[in-house]
Structure formats: structure tokens, C-alpha cells
């Protein structure tokens, strides 16, 4: 039993955090929200590719880093912390298992989008390739961007750049193996859960910093017991969500029999925590955080979006219910 991380895993987290700190500024997130379809800046992605992250899950023999979910969970938390405006989970976690053996013609650093997390496809107009469920069959096909017709869908978090697929031409069949598809979905769900923890942590950090400085009634507002207790509640929510998400990393990496339950629980707990922390952060800030000029809304909206995507907390709670024998319907 060892529920912690190696020095190498911590180092990778630090390296990614450093890259994101310099590339994934809040200005970059704002730029992603405003860019025309297909014109998403790839600067952040290039920087992440430079450190090999694109092929993190690809085996060393195939030219990747040969890592697994345990190595990536801290990295994904950082991706959430910086609200990376990229289909990162889709490209790094979801795609590799699906395109395994079908990599010819797929270059290094390919950005993938997918509808495996729902019919609203994040970055669907910006990806190089799309991984799409077949309407009538349990199968996933690969598409070039040009083979897909889509409409933009106006989203609350515009930096998620949602589209809906309205027409597809022929695609390359990748797999109709339900287990492979389920694993890809599980990885997507897990990746979003990990990002939600990072988003929550970022919002708490911003709040702690703000309430220590902002003064009302002659004192920092962080000295009021009500504000302290809001922050303590946020800390509690994050502290108990994080190990749940990290356990899901272990379950996926080791193919544990409980992985379906563990991944669903991770998304439910992390999503609930991030939404709660977002509301507390907004409340502790007050009106300033209700403006688009202050940065909090970038993280708040992302947290709300990721909670809703890839199955929301209520849906995953039902999966957990089934796994642990809680009855949900009168028989």
C-alpha cells in the first residue's frame, strides 16, 4: 500500500506546470474564446508536445513516454488549474487506445476531438482528426476534419469551442470492441475529473489571495468568520475529492475490477466539489468576480462546463448506485 507519488511523477507535474504558467495565461484563454472556428492558437499544444506529453500513454517502443494514468493525474490537475483551452484529454487520453494499430498517416502532435463525451464536441472545429461514434453501431470511426460538417454551438464557456456534428462522410473504422470504447470513455471521464480538481484548486487559491487583500469595514474580508468558513468548506471539498480522483487513476492503470465505479465516483465527487468551490469563490469575491474583466469567471465557467460534459455528477452517481447495490427503482 502506497498512496502517493514518485519523485518522477512530481517532477513531470512541475514541468507541465511551468510550461502552462508561461503559455496558458488567462490572456491565452480569452484568445481561445475569441478565435474564429479552426483558428485556435496551437502555442500551448506545441509547448506540451515539446515535452512529449502528446504521446504520454504511447508505449516507449512506439516512440511515446510509456506512462499510465497514475503518471498523468497530477498533470491533468495542472491542466485544469490553468484551464487549458485545448482538447487535451481527448488527444492524450482518449485517442491512444482507439487509434492503436491505426496510426499510419497520423502525425505527431495530432489534436483529436470526439463525441464520446456527448454530442457537444469541444474543439470540434479545431482538431486535426475526429473520433466519432457511429449512429447505428457500437463503433468508433476516425475522420479527417474535412470530412465532417458541424455547426458551432454558443456555449457559456466560449473557450471550450463547442460544435455539434451535423454530417459525416466516410470515416476509417477504428474499433467496434465495446471494451476498448468503454475504456476510452472512462479515460475521458477520468481526465475531466482530474481537471475539475485543478480548477477548484485554482479558484480557491485566487479566493484566498483576494480575501487576504480586499478590505471592507477597515479589515481584510478574509478575517470575517463567514468568509473563513466558506474557504474552509472549499478546502474540505477539494481535499476529499483529490484522493478519489487519484484512486481512479490507479484503478484505470491497473485495470482494477472496480474501475467503472471508481471513475464514475471520481467524476461525481470532483464535479460536485468544483461547482461548490466555484460558488464559494464567487461569493467570497463579491461583485468583482461577477465581471468578465476579472479572471475568476474563466475557471468558474470551465468548472461548470466540465461538470456537465462526459456525464454530469447526477448521471455518474447513478452508475455508482448500480455498482454498490443501491436500489434506484421500485421493482
Amino acid at each position: 500500500m502506497h498512496f502517493g507519488f514518485t519523485d518522477e511523477q512530481r517532477l513531470l507535474e512541475d514541468v507541465v506546470a511551468d510550461v502552462l504558467r508561461s503559455t496558458c495565461t488567462t490572456a491565452a484563454i480569452r484568445a481561445a474564446a475569441d478565435a474564429a472556428p479552426g483558428a485556435l492558437d496551437r502555442g500551448i499544444w506545441s509547448a506540451l508536445c515539446d515535452i512529449g506529453l502528446a504521446d504520454a500513454l504511447v508505449s516507449v517502443d512506439a516512440g511515446g513516454l510509456g506512462l499510465d494514468e497514475r503518471d498523468l493525474v497530477l498533470v491533468l490537475e495542472q491542466a485544469g488549474r490553468f484551464a487549458v483551452p485545448l482538447p487535451l484529454v481527448e488527444s492524450v487520453l482518449v485517442a491512444p487506445g482507439l487509434i492503436d494499430g491505426h496510426t499510419s498517416g497520423i502525425g505527431a502532435g495530432t489534436l483529436f476531438a470526439t463525441d464520446l463525451g456527448g454530442s457537444l464536441v469541444a474543439y470540434g472545429a479545431d482538431a486535426d482528426r475526429l473520433l466519432l461514434r457511429q449512429p447505428m453501431a457500437e463503433a468508433v470511426h476516425l475522420y479527417a476534419a474535412a470530412d465532417v460538417t458541424f455547426v458551432e454551438r454558443p456555449a457559456v464557456d466560449r473557450a471550450r469551442r463547442l460544435v455539434e456534428i451535423v454530417g459525416i462522410d466516410a470515416g476509417d473504422p477504428l474499433t467496434s470492441d465495446a471494451a476498448v470504447i468503454e475504456r476510452a470513455v472512462a479515460r475521458g471521464v477520468f481526465g475531466n475529473a482530474a481537471m475539475l480538481v485543478g480548477l477548484a484548486q485554482r479558484m480557491l487559491d485566487m479566493t484566498v489571495e483576494y480575501v487576504a487583500e480586499r478590505r471592507q469595514f477597515g479589515v481584510p474580508i478574509g478575517s470575517f468568520q463567514a468568509v473563513k468558513h466558506h474557504c474552509a468548506d472549499a478546502l474540505k471539498a477539494i481535499s476529499f475529492a483529490r484522493p478519489v480522483v487519484q484512486r481512479a487513476a490507479w484503478s484505470l492503470a491497473t485495470n482494477a475490477p472496480t474501475q467503472r465505479r471508481d471513475v464514475a465516483m471520481a467524476k461525481a465527487v470532483a464535479g460536485t466539489a468544483a461547482v461548490q468551490v466555484g460558488r464559494l469563490a464567487l461569493q467570497c469575491h463579491g461583485a468583482i468576480a461577477y465581471t468578465v474583466e476579472y479572471d475568476l469567471h474563466l475557471f468558474l465557467k470551465r468548472a461548470e462546463a466540465l461538470e456537465a460534459a462526459w456525464g454530469n455528477s447526477a448521471v455518474h452517481r447513478r452508475t455508482v448506485a448500480e455498482s454498490i447495490g443501491v436500489v434506484t427503482q421500485t421493482v
Binding site: 457537444l120 471550450r160 474580508i221 465581471t291 454530469n312
Partner: protein, 385 residues
């Protein structure tokens, strides 16, 4: 105890419902491209058109005297109108801050000349009033106001900055607190001023709200001259230096009955039930029921309050729990809807917009933390620190 309406009240309800249904259809059909949010520049113009329709038919402020454009309606009729207004799906009132926040203070503290001049123009939308309370350093701590008004010949010289001024970029006038005694501190030495925004030295800069609309504004005063006769009857509401007590009366109504009529929540709760049925989300049943029951509790609480007011009672510090209740209810109503929508919660639509708007509820009009302090100290009598 009699929880039925009179035949006259039922007739009033029918008249309001019929007019709203028909006029809303006419209003909407005159914008084939769709009605935009009232907190955007283009949408504001559309909503002003709606306000003029309300005003022309005498529905802009039903409880006001007929002479000012109202119907002399009782509080009961006001409640009925609000019920029907939200049931019909009519839009948020862009004139709200004037009609619901300034007007009560005018009735209480204004001179006849001020009322005669301002209120009719407010009802017709000729004057559009925004609120100038908050400043960068004075939010929850409203007594920290630093914007100043210095007495000069024939008027006042204004300096300083207001912020979080809702729809400030689209309004014509601002009401707010200014420090007229430079030696004063906290809630002393403040004066409630009525300020046309076209005075030289005033700059208004709109900025974006969380929900994406340009709903906020900053207002900068740079030696702006406010002539004593800029408003008929004078630019000072109440007495010079007594602005705090005038403002408190207004914030009372902001927190209390007038800002949030139950119709809004009852209508949202009914729509939530429809949504739950459509989406078949049986797992959300209890949360839907709880939200619906809370909206109903809020309606019943309001009926009791109006009964008391009708018998000559006063709104007191109880308005603080009122504000906590509706603001938390509003979030939950829309959070359940978002959960029912699943991935579609990500999209920009009426439910998600209303959810984001609801998130502001525990902040504006006195944060819920301040309201809980007020409830504990002034209603329950717990000791101050």
C-alpha cells in the same frame, strides 16, 4: 384567514393576463431576428420598446398614482400583476432600478416637485435611472463611500467613481450617495443626489458581466458640475448629510418585497417541473419538489407580509431573511434545471443564463453574509461584536 381572491381581483388578473399575452406577441413579432438580452446595447433598445408598451397601457407601475402613470393598485393587485407577468414569460424590467429602488425613496423622502417631475418620466421610460451605490472600495461596506460632492455656487462639484452600476451605460440618470462633508466618516456626512449622466465631467464605461452581457458600468466623476436645477425640485433627495437614512430605506426595498415578487420563482418552478418531465430525470425528483415547495413557501410568506403591510404594519429587518431565501432558492431552481439538462447545460440558453444570473443573487443588494448578520442582530437581538 381567507386565501381566495375577490371577483374584482380575478377580473384584474384576467385583464393583465390577456393584455400581457397579446402585447408580448406583438412586441416579439416586431423583432423577427429575435429579442436580445436587455443588458446589451441593442437588446436594451428592444426592452425599452417593451417598457413603452407597458407604460402606454398603464402597466409600467401599477401601484403608482394614476397621475404618475400607474393604476393606484393595491399591493394585492401588484402581486397579481407580477404573477401574471412572469407566468406570461415577460422579460426582465430594464427600468427596474428606477421603478423599484428610487421610486420608493422618492415617495418617502422626495418633495412634491421632485415626484411630479421624475416619476411620470420614469414610468414612460423618458428618464432611465441607475443606481450609484458601490465604489471600488465600498461594496458590502457601503459606508466606505468616498465619491464626493463639494458645494459650489449654484450646484455641486462631483468627484470619484461608482461601479457595478447595472445597465449604467444605457441609462440617463443616476441616483447615489456622495460625501458632502469632507470631514465626515462612515455613514455621516453623506447626501443622496440625483444626477443626470449627460453632465460634463461624467464618463460612463460599460463592462461585461459573468453572463456575457455588458450589464455593468463604471461611472467616473471628474469635477462634474451638478446644477441645483438639473432636476426639477432639486438634486438632493431628503436632507443634505442625511443620505444614509434615505439610502437605507432604498436598500430595504431592494432586499425586501419589491425587488423579488414570488411570481418569478413560481413561474420558474413550474417550468422546472415541465423540464423534469421532458428529460425524465426521476433521480432529480426530490430536488425539483423541494425547489417547487420553496417557491410556494416564498409566495405564502409574501402573502403574509402583504397582509401585514395592508393592515399598516412595516417591513422590518425581516426583509433580510427574505433576501437570503429568494436568492438561495433562485440558485437551486436553476441548478436543478442545469443538472436535468445534462451536457446541454453547457450551452448559452435561457436556463443557463438564468443560472448565471441567479449566482449574483447572494452578492448584490447586500451580500447574504451581511443579511445573516442583520437577521441575527436586528431580528434575533444577538450581540454585536
Amino acid at each position: 384567514m381567507d386565501l381566495t381572491w375577490t371577483a374584482e381581483q380575478d377580473a384584474f388578473r384576467d385583464e393583465a393576463a390577456t393584455w400581457l399575452r397579446e402585447e408580448l406577441q406583438r412586441w416579439r413579432s416586431s423583432y423577427p431576428g429575435g429579442v436580445l438580452s436587455g443588458d446589451t446595447r441593442d437588446g436594451f433598445a428592444q426592452h425599452l420598446d417593451w417598457e413603452r408598451r407597458l407604460s402606454d397601457a398603464g402597466w409600467a407601475a401599477v401601484s403608482w398614482p394614476v397621475a404618475y402613470g400607474g393604476r393606484d393598485a393595491s399591493l394585492w393587485e401588484w402581486l397579481i400583476f407580477e404573477d401574471e407577468y412572469y407566468r406570461a414569460g415577460a422579460p426582465p424590467r430594464v427600468t427596474q432600478n428606477g421603478i423599484f429602488l428610487l421610486a420608493p425613496s422618492l415617495y418617502e423622502f422626495g418633495t412634491t416637485e421632485q415626484c411630479d417631475d421624475i416619476l411620470p418620466k420614469m414610468a414612460t421610460g423618458e428618464q432611465l435611472w441607475c443606481q450609484g451605490w458601490s465604489e471600488p472600495g465600498a461594496g458590502s461596506d457601503l459606508a466606505g463611500v468616498r465619491s464626493s460632492a463639494r458645494r459650489v455656487d449654484g450646484g455641486w462639484l462631483l468627484n470619484g467613481q461608482k461601479t457595478w452600476t447595472t445597465r449604467g451605460a444605457f441609462c440617463t440618470h443616476l441616483f447615489g450617495l456622495f460625501r458632502t462633508d469632507p470631514q465626515s466618516e462612515r455613514h455621516h456626512g453623506l447626501t443622496y443626489l440625483l444626477v443626470p449622466l449627460d453632465a460634463s465631467g461624467i464618463t460612463v464605461r460599460g463592462f461585461g458581466r459573468l453572463d456575457g452581457d455588458e450589464g455593468f458600468a463604471e461611472v467616473f466623476f471628474d469635477d462634474a458640475f451638478l446644477a441645483d436645477d438639473a432636476v426639477a425640485g432639486g438634486v438632493v433627495l431628503g436632507d443634505i448629510g442625511a443620505g444614509w437614512s434615505v439610502a437605507m430605506a432604498t436598500t430595504g426595498s431592494e432586499r425586501g418585497l419589491t425587488l423579488r415578487s414570488p411570481g418569478r420563482f413560481n413561474a420558474a418552478a413550474d417550468r422546472l417541473i415541465d423540464l423534469q418531465r421532458e428529460t425524465g430525470r426521476v433521480d432529480l425528483a426530490d430536488r425539483v419538489v423541494d425547489a417547487w415547495m420553496s417557491a410556494e413557501a416564498y409566495r405564502l410568506f409574501t402573502l403574509q407580509t402583504v397582509t401585514r403591510l395592508s393592515e399598516g404594519g412595516l417591513m422590518g429587518a425581516e426583509s433580510s431573511i427574505n433576501k437570503i431565501f429568494w436568492s438561495e432558492l433562485d440558485i437551486e431552481l436553476h441548478a436543478v434545471a442545469q443538472d436535468a439538462l445534462g451536457e446541454r447545460a453547457q450551452l448559452d440558453h435561457e436556463w443557463s443564463k438564468a443560472y448565471l444570473f441567479a449566482l449574483a443573487g447572494p452578492i448584490y443588494a447586500g451580500t447574504n453574509e451581511i443579511q445573516r448578520n442583520i437577521a441575527a442582530e436586528r431580528v434575533l437581538g444577538l450581540p454585536r461584536r
